[in-house]
Amino acid sequence: MGPYLLQRLLVTVPTLFGVSVLVFLTLHLAPGDPAQVILGPKATETSLADLRRDLGLDRPIPVQYGRWLAGVVTGDWGRSIQLKTAVLPLVWTHFKATLILSAAAMLFAAGSGILLGVLSAVRAGKLLDRAAIVTTLVGYSLPAFFLGLLLQLAFGLWLGWFPVTGMYQPEGGGVLDLLAHLVLPAVTLAAGIGALIARMTRATMMEVLSQDYVRTANAKGLKRVSVVFRHAFRNAFIPILTILGLQVGYILGGAVLVEEVFGWPGVGTLAVNAILARDFPLVQGVTLLVALAYVLANLVTDLLYTLVDPRISYA
């Protein structure tokens, strides 16, 4: 495990370097003078010169990158031009909201997706399986922003069961208030991913259920539940885990849209507002943090393999 961990971390370094270069270049790849891009066509020469000096834009690009990277490492992620505040605390506060939403969605998607996939595989060709296939097809064809509206309309506006926007009531609330606000956005975000997980789980389980050792277990007269969960599911879990790991990116990306629908104060809403305001330090902060989280999630998924399946040894 130790050498593999080191090796895996070393592989991550060039990726992180590439990510940092791409995020840094966001400002410089925009056509025209970066200061003009940020301040717009009506900016005065004085304000342009001030901004160039503040952001270090008057220096060579490698020097600017070095300064920027040193700032990133030491916790100085620059200041938001629009909100006049430090980027890192701002992004971190919003990122926590995104993490809560993403974690809830992932739990719901994984739970419902795996259950549906397993049941579908066990009842392959039967009515339940056909219903599950249709459900998953609908699930991953429904755009999150449309499903979000439908849920808002049905469970928020018509039935009044759940609040339709925000993370807490305006006057503030506790955990129960947070959970009530979380249900609709989490279900919306989970739908597409849960459908994909169900689909992949079904395919993997069908494969495993046709193996000789499963047939042997059945022939021995073991209970169906035991065969499915103790023999088949345990062996299907590695591919399913891979699928779950891959969905982290979809969750983080999909959160952008879902946050917009439900007014959830996460990084998605922050990123969209920053892009519209041409607030590049903030855009860089959001994209860097989300990319770091995504790279970390992939790393954790890889490492989990070794824990879940003792047959896998990377040493």
Partner: protein, 289 residues
């Protein structure tokens, strides 16, 4: 033909069986065809101007005389806007897939076939691009280029390139070791000819399936970007913009948002269904299942 291959061939799901004899697939094909035809023929259908409306007629419900699907907040005809919106959404979806597939497949096949340093650097680039969730990568490109319909199309296409690079590279890696490629090399065929006639042509099945499934995804992504206010801008009739504009009238006039949302859903659903069927037809692993 041996008995084995003969039986396998007979078990291969045929185009006729998959597309015409299954009612669901047939309905999906017809629905998609109707949307595509109405989008193509929009100027000739005699529909009202989708950008013009009368405030007296604002927020009329579906079924109103003269406005079969009702009107929006500016009194514009919903049916006309949906048909013209389909034109924009379909063009963006297909063009983005075309652009992503062209660049991704070219890069992937070159990377897999040439291997060596070229492959190494292409793969590092793809690793970096894949370190960003899809929508985030598209957002970065929009941040660079600025909001707008064309920029959004370019953004979602660029974000989609890694997907095609991976698929094409995988095929090219396998094919470069095959006997017919070795034979072509031994016969002195130029590299471009081997790439096009042997590698590309034999990699097409997975690429076509991936592209078909990707059109729906790209339509959703483009509509999503417009929904966020970064793609098509009002007053353009585009499904994502329409859905977003109608949100503030959700309580009093839900059809303004729900109808464009339903159109996106139906088109994506039919494309996914047809993509699945196409995969069943072209993927040799489905033989006999």
């Amino acid at each position: 033909m041996t008995a084995d291959t003969a039986s396998q061939t007979s078990r291969r799901p045929s185009f006729q069986r998959l597309f015409l004899r299954e009612p669901v697939t047939l309905v999906a094909s017809l629905l998609l065809l109707a949307v595509i035809l109405s989008a193509l023929l929009a100027p000739y259908l005699g529909l009202p101007n989708p950008a013009e409306g009368s405030l007296i007629d604002r927020l009329q419900p579906p079924g109103t005389a003269g406005h079969i699907l009702g009107t929006d907040e500016l009194g514009r005809d919903m049916l006309s806007r949906l048909v013209w919106g389909g034109r924009v959404s379909l063009v963006v979806g297909f063009a983005a897939v075309g652009f992503a597939a062209l660049l991704g497949v070219t890069l992937g096949i070159l990377s897999g076939y040439l291997a060596g340093r070229f492959d190494f650097w292409v793969q590092r680039l793809i690793d970096v691009l894949m370190a960003f969730p899809y929508i985030l990568l598209a957002l970065i490109v929009v941040a660079i280029l600025g909001p707008g319909l064309v920029n959004t199309m370019v953004a979602i296409a660029i974000a989609g390139i890694p997907y095609y690079v991976r698929i094409a590279r995988g095929s090219a890696l396998a094919l470069r070791e095959s006997e017919f490629v070795t034979a072509a090399q031994a016969a002195g065929a130029p590299t471009w000819r081997i790439l096009v006639r042997h590698v590309l042509s034999n990699s097409l099945s997975p690429i076509v399936v991936a592209a078909t499934l990707d059109v729906g995804f790209m339509i959703m992504a483009a509509a999503g970007m417009s929904f966020l206010g970064l793609g098509a801008q009002p007053p353009i009739s585009e499904w994502g913009v329409m859905l977003s504009d109608g949100r503030q009238y959700l309580r009093v006039a839900p059809w303004v948002s729900l109808l464009p949302g339903l159109m996106i859903f139906l088109v994506v659903l039919t494309l996914n269904l047809l993509g699945d069927r196409l995969r069943d037809m072209l993927d040799p692993r489905t033989l006999g299942r």
